[in-house]
């Protein structure tokens, strides 16, 4: 009895498929593929080799870069904004994982001419919540609760040659910054936020171990690409390349010197602020060749 039902169902589906096949029309909108590249001085990034010198004169190498970008929007020639749905608003990129370097958006984009792209480097306050990602590799980016919770915006790991001629590791990690009791700097231009930790974690900050934290600073920033022009056509695929110019993290407007900031900056808001302010010209988007 069951098999008869299967048979009827299968035949029906088959006939329906046969009937509709010839009537298909080109789907409205086009697809976007974003290829991610990392470069230093206009050449593809080479890891694990002391090939590079930053603006401060530090001879350095990069071992890996892992980062988030989110909330990408496309701006058409008339100034209208196209926003991707929630499922396509956060992306993780990892120089060690090829699959993360090609993003095929599933959402179709209205056909037309586009002249701008915006996205967030890292994650904004609403998205940067602890436990958002439970699966690796994204979950490995978690930012400790004590330091504000959520996730690293970026881990850029490498080594540099210090003034003693020794190879010293650096972890250029960007995420939520902290204002400590001993900190007197003026952070007026920054958005202060609550810690993103679970409620029951409140109060586990032992002042005897580390200075008390007065506030947290969300260091994410918006990237505006307005020197681009590309078209999207119905039923077609558009390929763009998003390039991270690694050396620009360490220059313009601030000259970032590893000898000054040392190997770790997750608890040095001044260093993270400098890195994020340098981020304005780190990214470039262009039509893929």
């Amino acid at each position: 009895m069951l098999n008869k039902r299967y048979c009827i169902l299968s035949l029906s589906l088959f006939l329906l498929a046969a009937c509709t096949r010839d009537k298909s029309e080109p789907e409205s909108g086009g697809l976007l593929v974003l290829n991610i590249e990392h470069s230093v001085q206009q050449n593809p990034l080479v890891v694990d080799d002391f090939l590079y010198t930053n603006e401060a004169g530090n001879n350095y190498m990069v071992t890996e870069i892992q980062w988030f970008f989110s909330d990408m929007e496309l701006i058409d020639a008339s100034g209208n904004t196209f926003t991707f749905p929630e499922a396509e608003q956060v992306f993780y990129v990892d120089t060690d994982i090829e699959a993360t370097k090609e993003i095929k958006f599933k959402t179709r984009i209205p056909a037309g001419n586009y002249s701008g792209i915006r996205f967030i480097f890292g994650l904004n306050e609403q998205k940067n919540k602890s436990n958002r990602f439970v699966n690796p590799p994204e979950s490995f980016m978690f930012w400790p609760e004590y330091l504000g919770g959520g996730y690293h915006y970026m881990k850029l790991n490498g080594k540099w040659i210090n003034p003693d001629g020794l190879t010293e590791p650096f972890n250029f990690h960007l995420g939520i910054g902290q204002v400590y009791e001993t900190n007197n700097q003026n952070y007026a231009s920054y958005t202060f936020g609550e810690a993103n930790c679970y409620e029951h974690c409140e109060g586990y900050r032992p002042g005897s171990i580390l200075p008390s934290i007065k506030a947290f600073i969300h260091n994410y920033f918006q990237v505006n690409i307005d020197d681009i022009s590309f078209s999207v056509a119905d039923g077609k695929q558009t390929n763009l390349t998003l390039e991270m110019k690694v050396e620009n993290w360490f220059r313009n407007p601030h000259t970032y010197n590893h000898n000054q900031w040392g190997g770790s900056i997750m608890q040095q808001q001044d260093a993270m602020q400098m890195g994020c302010e340098n981020g304005h010209d780190v990214f470039q988007v262009k039509p893929s060749e």
Binding site: L11, E145, L166, T167
Partner: protein, 380 residues
């Protein structure tokens, strides 16, 4: 025209399907085994498509895991199985105070010691990036016999420094043991014992060994508060200017307490182990790199490091605090290396250890589902 050929094809498929239904009525389908994902744990599991978890498969795997005849031998002096070394009470390791494996250094049935010390079998259902200290068994491996937990079972049975068995002899032996063929029938639809199904069953059982109810888990779930010393230790664990353990060993956002990735943690400056991470990747920067093991139940997992050079947690903390060595291969995450380590005070070391001990899951260590069965299928 193709449509005309498809109609008879569909009918044949229906008939074949009907035949299969009749056969499956004789051997009940095994019951799917559900893994409940603990709070904040990954939802993606390492369960291969050709070995889905079933209640019957797990039950069979548990018998095999604890049955000394897995070595293919029946003489009382020649029995050896997974549980000979992987002891539940010791986080499925031998334990530093094992009466036979002195200092926790294990050897196989022939007396030959293993190349590296043991790794725990805890929470391996979430390991998707390679097994063993070097990660030489991994899903994308070109060599089809070195891809997943099932392959590790095969390797353990045949390896000279483990069971030194013969797969044909093992499967033939279990074919003759009362009760086992019926268990294979229930788990895999055939009473013919194959070594492949032995591998599958043991791997299924090992994937059930989940530790997720430590004091820290209860703290994360808001069920209890840790002591001040433990909380201090947690802060040290998860801060770069503290002990900076979290980048490799996880924390609240990565409750596996490992990334399952590979790091040179600054133990040495000369690297001559032929089975380090370099042996897998061929990248010279990976010399001296090994898997970061999970810190769950770590107090029971000594000796520590790939070669078992440290006997106690105190020695490990002392190493990370004051004895980390600089080499070209040391991982960038060891950013305290030029100071020799994280420079913890005596109190900080005590606090850090107190936190690490909150990762011990006493329930896991005595859970009867993970322990030896009261009787084997032949009632022995």
């Amino acid at each position: 025209m193709n449509r005309y050929f498809l109609f008879p094809g569909l009918i044949i498929i229906m008939l074949l399907s009907a035949c299969r239904d009749k056969k499956s009525a004789e051997v009940p389908e095994p019951t799917p085994y559900e893994i409940n994902i603990p709070f904040a744990f990954p939802s993606i599991l390492n369960i291969p498509e050709d070995n889905p978890m079933t209640e019957e498969g797990v039950q069979l795997g548990r018998y095999l895991f604890y049955d000394g005849r897995l070595s293919g031998r029946t003489h009382p002096d020649s029995l050896m199985t997974c549980a000979t070394c992987h002891i539940q009470a010791n986080n499925f390791e031998a334990g530093i105070d094992h009466p036979v494996f002195e200092g926790g250094i294990v050897h196989g049935i022939t007396g030959k010691t293993t190349h590296h010390v043991m790794l725990p079998l805890t929470n391996l259902v979430w390991n998707r990036s390679g097994y063993g200290w070097s990660g030489f068994i991994y899903p994308e491996n070109d060599q089809p016999f070195y891809r997943n937990l099932e392959d590790f079972v095969w390797l353990a049975v045949i390896a000279e420094d483990e069971l030194a068995g013969d797969t044909t002899r093992v499967k033939e032996l279990f074919q003759e043991i009362d009760g086992y063929p019926d268990l294979f029938l229930k788990a895999f639809g055939s009473s013919t014992v194959t070594f492949k199904n032995i591998q599958r069953a043991i791997a299924q059982f090992v994937r059930t060994l989940i530790s997720a109810n430590s004091r820290f888990d209860k703290y994360l779930r808001g069920e209890l508060q840790l002591t001040q010393s433990e909380l201090n230790g947690y802060v040290l664990f998860t801060t770069e200017e503290g002990a900076d353990c979290f980048h490799c060993h996880g924390g609240g956002g990565n409750p596996l307490f490992t990334t399952h990735l590979f790091y040179n943690n600054g133990k040495d400056t000369i690297f001559n182990d032929p089975l380090d991470r370099y042996s897998v990747t061929g990248n010279p920067m990976h010399r001296g790199a090994y898997k970061a093991p999970t810190l769950r139940n770590i107090a029971l997992s000594g000796p520590y490091m790939h070669d078992g050079r440290f006997a106690t947690l105190d020695e490990v903390i002392e190493f990370y605090s004051h004895h980390v060595k600089l080499s070209p291969q040391v991982d960038p995450l060891m950013h305290h290396v030029l100071r020799g380590g994280i420079q913890l005070t005596t109190q900080e070391k005590a606090d850090l250890k107190a936190f690490i001990l909150t990762l011990q899951d006493d329930e896991f260590l005595v859970n009867p589902d993970f322990g030896p069965p009261p009787l084997f299928p032949d009632q022995k």
